[in-house]
Amino acid sequence: MSVTMPETVDLSLYAKAGVGGTCDMDLAVEGITCGACIGRIENAVRALPGVTEARLNYTNRRLHVAWADGALEPAAIVRALADNGYRGHPFVPMRAEQEEAAEARRLTRCMAVAGFATMNVMLLSVSVWSGNVSDITPETRDFFHWASALIALPAAAYAGRPFFASAWQALRARSLNMNVPISLGVILALGMSIVETANHAEHAYFDSALMLLFFLLVGRALDHAMRRKTRAVAGNLAALRAGTAHRFAGDELVTVPVAALNSGDRLLVKPGERVPADGIVQGGTSEIDDSLITGETARRKVSAGATIYAGSLNYSGALTLKVTATGGTALIDEIETLLEKAAGAKSRAMRLADRAARFYAPVVHTAAALTLAGWLLAGASAHDAIIIAIAVLIITCPCALALAIPAVQVVASGALFRAGILLNAGDAIERLAEVDTVVFDKTGTLTLPEPHLLNAAAVDPALLQRAARLALTSRHPLAMAVAREVTLRVPFDGAVEEPGEGVRAVVDGTEARLGSAAFCGMPQQAPSDDAGVSTICFRHGAATASFAVSQKLRADAVAVVAALRQRGLDIHILSGDREAAVAPVAQALGITQWRGGLKPADKIAAIEAMKAQGRRVLMVGDGLNDAPALAAAHVSLSPIAAADMTQAQADAVFLGERLGPVTDAIAIARRARRLMMENLWIAAVYNAIAVPIAIAGLVTPLIAAVAMSGSSILVTVNALRASRGAGERP
């Protein structure tokens, strides 16, 4: 490690003032492997002066720390974690996450109340049913029915609120959703049961109404739990991606989180670091890799006056940077305008569940009305006709139908989660399943985001390992590419980095050098004809090697493209990089439909043209220049290394260095979609059998209970099959 001045780290942005003169902070902790870590982490942090509370949440890998205000520098917590081998990344909990947590708690409370009430009412109902066929007295039956009403009415009023509120909203907007028939069914079942109980009737439907609510709430609570889990992981990843910047405070450098930067701040960007914020170069010269911004892999020389963007990789020299306001540059403005246009043009695909509800509700309500009219015409009393019509509504109450899609959704998003795909949008699964065309960005999507060694196999392995261990000492991106090949992660003692030239160390009595050709005393090589490939040299005594470093295809890119093609998908590349750089990648992957040198507006135009042909496009991209195209596509994916603005547009984000999650996502989504359709058919068949029985007036509460729980269980069990798609690797 080169010796540098220890910099002050200012994390006060993340510390929140709590009650009674305390401060608290949340950190996402990396490196937790087992239960023993809980004690180690909490004890290490509690040992710090002033800390009053340290509590690790093992489930979502988050540490909450509270301390007496002023007694502790927040950075000390991160240092204490680092001393114990953990990496702590402070963060401010996102508001969306907190709102979702509150909603999940509300649903769990509703579910608990509905579950309690269902069990108790069912106990009473079973007694009545068995009593009806033996010797129950009418007085006892009435008593049981009134007791059921006493439990059911308050419970339904409390547990049914999520459904009633949503149904009311839909009705006020003059539309229908699945909650309208659900609410109607519950309210009618309860109302009719009270009237019937008052008339000393044999049948009451309190149990049906509650069971319906309970089953549906279980489905919704599970859906929310899955979404919260995904959000927590996404939040942690965001926390550990959030970079830091070296800000000048007078002449001193202070390391601050990127979120604390303001327009006008002066920053130092060291070689090998990513640029933390958009800005204008004030001093220094360097080469900048803009591939995360424009997809261009050839490096750009920058000096004072040049504009550079957050996410670019600084190669050779230290730069001083003046931060400009976001949206202050031509490129960002252009992308924001395009994003607005893309979002405006996007026709929201109607969700399958809403489409089913829109078809289903009128049919059922008409059937009930016809039943009422039919029985009246057939000479039944008004009381009997109404009772039978309501029974039709209760038995068709869409328990199976309302579970058909969410149940698959829960299982499928769990399978996606295990495959390393985090969903941003709830309906992304349905849209992923419809895709027939996949458009890839090249740089950072088909290729790995960081430069890699191209000719590792051509170099003597022992020599490569020596070079790689030497490279561990350097922060230069080319050296870091060599260092990725290392097997023994131990830097050489006494290795020294010569800024702008290379690293040297004495290895086995002979000096070893890694760096420019001149630094290693090797002949200057003719620059490669591909502007994206750079060379770094190594000399150890008489042995020499030169390494070609460039963006490299993801290891499984060829297999993934082949697998996608096998599934009948049409594959395109739309890249912002030069055509000369795109051609070899397209050739290696066997993709004939590719274009290079595209501006963000060109990418949108290309996708719009595909949509005009009736194609459903999946866009996979990572660069800032891809953000508008992601928004314009039918559905979109981003690798986790993508630019922030791009990730925000993507419907799902995938983790890791493999491209495999793209095939997994499509496979799981298609399977899920098939199961959703199957479930809708199961629900339809159930109704086709149950409705005639109800219309004939033969339904009793016992039949309703058996039919409803039977069909719900069938649909749920069928949905469990959605988890199998994850195992099929291409």
């Binding site: 809980i38 690790l56 949440n57 489930t59 769990t108 309690f116 069990m119 007295t137 006892t140 007791a147």
Partner: protein, 48 residues
């Protein structure tokens, strides 16, 4: 059958106590870290 007049409220009250217990556990955050709780019970150094 008059016994039911006493038994039913008693059974309901017991059930309600259970429900209240669950809601209390939910409110006091005992379900926030279910995996951690399973592991914490094994460590013996948190007796402070």
């Amino acid at each position: 059958m008059n016994i039911l007049v006493y038994l039913l409220p008693v059974a309901l009250t017991l059930g309600l106590i259970g429900l209240a217990g669950f809601l209390w556990a939910l409110r006091s955050g005992q379900y926030n870290d279910v995996e951690g709780a399973a592991l914490r019970v094994l460590s013996d150094d948190d007796v402070t």
